[in-house]
């Protein structure tokens, strides 16, 4: 296009545009947001792919994530080292999956990752308990928590192994038409 920006090369912007659900303008805006999280750490010139990662604590303070009960898990799921340190590519990836145009299958994969606290490829009872506690500020009694988790597994578990595999989770998501609009963060 006509504007001369020096943050990314044209090939880089094309790659971002083709591999994520953002346009060029949105990528540049995202870079602005990433930069203002830590202006002294993040370089303005990304043409030679600098290796810069921002820690979890900075990213979860963004206004879009600050009030989200799952903010830590969201950032950890998209970081390569699992500790929540995001490079700019992972930052873009995160908001791309959470954007409006990402398809349901992709969102289901990452939603599963977010709810899987112990990263064992299954949503077992402990994962569901932690999810429930994050959603209700830990104000339910232990019996109520147990009952809710048992009912959840009973309703969603198809193959009878007492935990939810990705197939069970995806089956449930496919029957929730609101999921696409609720699993969505605007930036």
């Amino acid at each position: 296009m006509g504007n001369k920006q020096t943050i990314f090369t044209d090939e880089q912007l094309d790659a971002y545009q083709d591999c994520t659900f953002f346009t060029r303008k949105e990528i540049l805006r995202l870079h602005g947001r990433y930069h203002e999280l830590a202006p002294h750490l993040v370089p303005m010139d990304y043409t030679n792919d600098p290796d810069c990662k921002l820690p979890l604590a900075l990213i979860v303070n963004m206004p879009e994530l600050k009030e989200n009960p799952f903010r830590n898990r969201i950032v950890e799921s998209f970081s390569e080292d699992g500790m929540g340190n995001l490079s700019f590519n992972e930052f873009v990836d995160m908001f791309s999956v959470l954007s409006e145009t990402a398809p349901r299958e992709l969102k289901a994969i990452y939603a599963f990752k977010i709810y899987d606290f112990n990263v064992d490829n299954y949503l077992c009872k402990e994962d569901l308990e932690k999810t429930l506690n994050k959603l209700t500020k830990e104000e339910l009694t232990q019996e109520e928590v147990d009952l809710v988790c048992e009912k959840t597994i009973e309703e969603a578990d198809l193959d009878g192994d007492n935990k939810l595999s990705f197939a069970d989770f995806e089956n449930m998501i496919s029957r929730a038409p609101d999921f696409l609009s609720t699993f969505h963060i605007r930036i």
Binding site: T152, D178, R186
Partner: protein
């Protein structure tokens, strides 16, 4: 958009989740992607569940393969054009930024009201363009100056009453001529008027049926029941809410709802009887109120006709009373929840919706009955009179909607925060507001036949209403406390819009066109027995023109013959029965497959256990043999 991506298993690498395809999987992926067009390939790459680095690599592989062909340049340009087009479309789309803001602060169920408003606005814009283009512009071109009698001039009151100066313009049915306008082409006004309105109504009907069916399929048939714990725990949290108070509210509501579910109370017999009596009483009260309001509107209309003074302001009495009823009684219905107990919030909303629908239908029914039976027989240019009544109703409805915003939201906020803190900040009552929109749109649909330019007023009304409601929402209301099933409510609203409101409006217009004699002195159908005979006259004219015999044949043997409709009905019933049987078969297939999943997993477990067991035995045997050997 599967492209066999199910083959990509989630691999765990050192305890961290990374989806890295193995070499063979990558080759399969590349093989699949290479056959697609550029746009489809880009879309497929975007939807891959991989990290950005991996996707960049795949993309680089694809582009280096495709580099040998020159087509890539051409397709890249096409791709750029498509992206330009989509980003241009984004900037042109109406109210995009405002919708994002509302959705972010109040959630998707409140946003559904505004999207419904925008959708209805599109209907009106289309209607206005069609009517203005095909009916009004030819008449204005032919005869630009309306023929107003000399003693009538424009006063300000016309904007409210619609009578007087407006009566003689192209605003109403009476202002249109029944001649064939000669000019560049011969333009038959009768046919134009008839076919424009008919085609518009049919297209509206198709659009409504189509969106209702699609919405129903997505949100009801394939959907998980709202009462399930699994849905509430895993799918109901709205990630887009960023407001701290809203998040806190939602958390506490989720907690309440889950703990209610956990302690399901069973009612005793006397409690059940009490609930039943309360329900019966409140339904009788609401039905009685609706019927009473209908009867009082009828008597008011008759009174107005009897008095019929020269005071033009008296014509505003009926519309104001109608709009006042529509404002006050739904607020009164909303208070019923204080003593009526429903098992779920959804049932409560549906009960409220049904009561409001019944109220509005009874009022509209009474008004239509009055217009068709009394006005049509009494006045000379009765269609224009009906058009004026509808105009007044639309204007009064608009004024009272603005008042309603004031009372429903601003005053409630003041009362809730300053005077009686127990009530708290009001919530945006989605059901009541959507029903008001549906009612307003029904008035426009009824009015199109009698006043072709009524959609223009409707467009202005909806435009102002959007901004008014947005301001009222952001200033006065808090985000909804419960996470409603927005998608299912949306389906219900579209279904309500179609039936009974659109069907009712269509039946009224059809009855008018079919049974009532058009007025003798004014309008495009003067001199005919009924409006439909326009088509008969046209067919008679076509018979003498050679080359159009097929139209005449179709009219006489298809549209006018009863056998055709009988055959269509029988065929439709047979097809419906066949589809129903297919659905039954699919249901039993689904149950079979579910059972198979359980069986397979049990079988897998047993197989694994057996293999472990065999492995163990072999190990022990080996160990024993080895120790024997060492001892030896």
């Amino acid at each position: 958009m599967d492209y066999g991506l199910r083959l990509l298993h989630v691999k765990i690498k050192g305890g961290i989740y990374l989806i890295i395809p193995s070499v063979t999987e990558e080759q399969n992926l590349v093989k699949e992607l290479i056959d697609l067009s550029t746009r489809d390939r880009i879309r497929a790459i975007r939807e891959l569940p991989m990290s950005f680095e991996e996707k960049k690599r795949i993309r680089w592989v694809m582009s280096s393969i495709k580099q040998c062909c020159r087509i890539i340049l051409h397709q890249h340009i096409l791709g750029c054009v498509c992206l330009c087009h989509s980003s241009a479309r984004q900037t042109l789309e109406l109210w995009q930024g405002v919708m994002k803001e509302i959705g972010g602060k109040f959630g998707s169920s409140v946003l559904s009201y505004f999207m419904f408003l925008k959708w209805l606005l599109m209907f009106n814009i289309f209607s206005f363009l069609v009517n203005f283009g095909f009916i009004t512009i030819p008449l204005l071109v032919y005869d630009p100056l309306p023929n107003i009698p000399p003693n009538v001039s424009f006063r300000g009151l016309e904007i409210l009453t619609g009578a007087g100066y407006f009566n003689y313009t192209v605003m109403y049915y009476g202002g249109y001529s029944n001649e064939t306008l000669s000019g560049l082409v011969d333009y038959d006004m009768q046919l134009a008027y008839f076919f424009t309105i008919a085609v518009y109504m049919v297209l509206c009907g198709f659009a409504l049926i189509f969106s209702m069916a699609r919405s129903f399929q997505r949100n009801y048939i394939l959907a998980e029941p709202a009462s399930s714990c699994a849905w509430q725990l895993l799918c109901s949290w709205d990630f887009s809410i960023t407001n701290e108070k809203a998040v806190r509210q939602r958390k506490s509501n989720l907690r309440e709802s889950l703990s209610e579910k956990a302690q399901m109370k069973l009612l005793t017999l006397s409690e059940k009887l009490k609930h039943f009596a309360v329900h019966l009483g409140s339904w009788l009260l609401s039905t009685g109120l609706a019927l009473g309001c209908g009867a009082s509107i009828y008597y008011l209309c008759q009174y107005e006709q009897q008095v019929h003074s020269s005071m033009e302001g008296l014509t505003l009495l009926v519309p104001f009373v109608v709009s006042l009823i529509n404002l006050v009684i739904p607020l009164f219905y909303s208070l019923f929840y204080k003593f009526e107990q429903y098992s779920s919030q959804r049932r409560q909303i549906y009960a409220l919706v049904i009561r409001n629908v019944f109220l509005k239908m009874s009022i509209l029914g009474v008004l239509c009955f009055y217009w068709m039976n009394v006005v049509a027989k009494k006045y000379s240019c009765w269609e224009s009179m009906v058009g004026q009544s509808l105009y007044r109703l639309v204007i009064a409805d608009f004024l009272f909607l603005m008042l309603g915003s004031f009372f429903g939201e601003f005053l409630s906020n003041v009362i809730g925060t300053r005077l009686i803190p127990r009530f708290g900040v009001p919530e945006f009552d989605i059901a009541r507001n959507v029903l008001e929109l549906i009612y307003a749109q029904t008035l426009a649909w009824i009015g199109i036949y009698f006043s072709p330019l009524l959609p223009a007023i409707q467009i202005v009304k909806f435009f102002i209403l959007f901004y008014l409601k947005k301001v009222s929402l952001t200033q006065n209301c808090q985000p909804p406390r419960r996470t409603g099933r927005a998608a299912q409510m949306q389906t219900t609203f579209i279904a309500l819009l179609f039936f009974p409101f659109f069907v009712g409006a269509l039946s009224m217009v059809a009855y008018t066109a079919w049974r009532l004699a058009p007025s003798e002195q004014c309008g495009p159908f003067r001199g005919l027995n009924d409006t439909f005979s326009v088509v008969g006259v046209w067919i008679d004219d076509l018979e003498v023109i050679p080359g159009s015999q097929w139209v005449v044949w179709i009219y006489q043997n298809v549209i006018r013959s009863e056998i055709f409709y009988f055959l269509i009905t029988v065929v439709t019933l047979v097809i419906t029965y066949i589809f129903w049987q297919v659905i039954q078969g699919r249901k039993s297939l689904m149950n079979l497959l579910r059972q198979q999943i359980v069986n397979v997993s049990v079988f897998e477990e047993k197989r694994l256990l057996l293999m472990l067991f065999i492995e163990r035995i072999l190990f022990c045997t080996q160990h024993w043999v080895y120790s024997k050997y060492i001892l030896l």
